[in-house]
């Protein structure tokens, strides 16, 4: 038990240190533009269709489940509000981050893990190439930028999916649905003209992106020789980042809506 705790703390320490090293080298974003662009592409374009598909169905599920309940009280007109708020505050950021952890995060861990066990990281060191600037910073920036962008897409398509169900299953007209969805997002708290429900969600997904990248990179760098090493690094990356996302999600929600 004590040993597990110590290992856990050492692991957290390792990832925090990695994160600090990335922050110290953020200048590499400018000097290594092409690497960053490539990672934006890797982190974004490859998973966009997954986010769209899943987001659509999540919106449909939220609409159907809550809509049927609301209908029992004759409140189905509120469905636009419910779908928009739950997509923007929770579903969009969380679902997008989960998809990113399972696809981009696992790919990063596998890729860096393979490099670790096949001496490629050692080769970089021998050639005096900073692997943080060359490999890690671009990946962290790629996920930190793409996660919020894809969350926007997820939110939008989720609201569209919800509207589809509202009209076909709940007999709520589309214009009423979209009006209530948009109304609900026009609150009194504005940052850059964005309602709090939206920007809090986007900020969360930015943090999730950083978490996924740092955990995945850390797992990959720590992989040890043998194919098992890469496999377990990949599993660890996905498992740990999903746990970390959920815990961070709670605290971020608390800060935004409770504190």
């Amino acid at each position: 038990m004590l040993k597990m705790l110590r290992e856990f703390l050492a692991d957290v320490g390792f990832h925090l240190e990695l994160f600090a090293q990335v922050l110290a080298r953020l200048g590499a974003v400018v000097t290594r533009r092409e690497l960053v662009l490539d990672q934006l592409y890797q982190a974004g374009i490859r998973v966009t269709h997954v986010v769209l598909l899943v987001g659509l169905f999540i919106g449909m599920i939220v609409s159907l489940q809550t809509g049927l309940e609301l209908a029992r009280f004759g409140q189905q007109d509120q469905i636009g509000t419910i779908v928009a708020l739950s997509m923007c505050r929770e579903m969009g950021p969380f679902i997008t981050a989960t998809i990113m952890a399972a696809t981009v995060g696992s790919a990063i861990a596998a890729e860096l893990g393979t490099m670790a066990v096949s001496d490629e990281l050692t080769a970089l060191e021998v050639m005096s190439i900073d692997r943080l600037r060359y490999l890690i910073v671009p990946r962290v920036v790629g996920l930190a930028v793409m996660c919020p962008l894809l969350t926007v897409l997820c939110n939008l398509i989720g609201v569209v999916g919800g509207g589809f169900i509202a009209e076909s299953q709940l007999n709520v007209g589309l214009s009423l649905y979209y009006d209530s969805a948009i109304d609900s997002l026009t609150g009194t708290y504005f940052v850059f003209d964005l309602p709090k429900d939206v920007y809090s969600g986007l900020f969360k997904s930015f943090v999730f992106g950083v978490i996924i990248a740092v955990i995945a990179c850390g797992a990959g760098l720590q992989a040890t020789s043998g194919a098992m090493g890469v496999g377990s690094a990949t599993r660890k990356a996905v498992r740990d980042s999903i746990i970390a996302i959920i815990i961070a999600n709670y605290f971020l929600s608390w800060i935004f809506f409770q504190a």
Partner: protein, 251 residues
């Protein structure tokens, strides 16, 4: 053969110990490599050959003892000095260790692109020259996954040579290659030693390799180097341990 080597020591291990947990790998290793010579270390799998090379380029530090390269103590060398020193050393990895998303040409160009201000046109020219030198001129645009094992080794060698190093470390340059390709790689190493006047430290468990490339050779066993001599003497030796080791190889 030894006429090629002067007697200035470039690379030296003095009483080097290295253990991983309970596993004692190096136990008082002494080694001297002279300027211009090709020194081979033979030894069975797992005896610490790669660990020795990693010490020679500062990837590992000895638990005890001293590793010196061109007069620098590798345990206390400063980062800028280590950088400078490493740019004058080449390391040929056992599995080539090419970055798999870069073409062979880009892999070879990497050290120049990342650590120098050289214009790209000049870099490409140099890369082509090195690929020519290691006889894989057509590999330039190919990805590592499209290359055979022997070709990967050659590209890895070209990458190690791109900064014109004075010291080259080879980790089992012929392991896993068929005899014909092994022999051509061995001749290439020999030729590089003669033409470029580099100092080489080669670890191998192939007799063919030491016959072709070595000026001197020693057996790494029990964490120390034994029977350091010329390849002819080494192979003719009647030392029981050596006979047993070499007997295994000849079969």
């Amino acid at each position: 053969m030894s006429a090629r080597g002067s007697h200035k020591t470039l690379l030296q291990f003095q009483g080097v110990h290295k253990a991983f947990g309970q596993r004692k790998v190096l136990q008082g290793l002494d080694l001297e490599v002279y300027e211009g010579e090709t020194f081979c270390i033979m030894g069975p799998s797992g005896c610490g050959k790669s660990v020795t090379l990693r010490h020679a380029i500062g990837l590992m530090k000895p638990d005890q003892g001293v590793v010196t390269v061109e007069g620098h103590d590798m345990s206390s060398i400063t980062k800028p000095d280590l950088r400078k020193l490493r740019s004058r050393m080449g390391y040929v990895f056992q599995e080539a260790a090419l970055l798999n998303w870069l073409s062979a040409g880009d892999n070879v160009a990497l050290p120049l692109r990342e650590t120098t201000q050289m214009p790209d046109l000049e870099i490409v020219e140099r890369v082509r020259a090195k690929l020519e030198l290691v006889r894989v001129p057509d590999a330039f645009d190919k990805l590592p996954s499209e290359l055979s094992g022997g070709m990967k080794k050659r590209v890895g060698l070209a990458r190690a040579l791109i900064t014109d190093p004075e010291i080259i470390l080879y980790d089992e340059p012929t392991a896993g290659l068929d005899p014909e390709i092994s022999s051509s790689i061995n001749h290439l190493i020999r030729e590089l030693g003669e033409r470029l006047k580099v100092t080489s430290l080669v670890v191998t468990h192939h007799i063919g390799c030491i016959k072709t490339v070595a000026d001197r050779v020693g057996l790494l066993d029990g964490g120390r180097l034994h029977y350091v001599s010329t390849p002819t003497e080494f192979l003719a030796s009647q030392e029981p341990r050596l006979v047993r080791f070499l007997g295994d190889r000849l079969d």
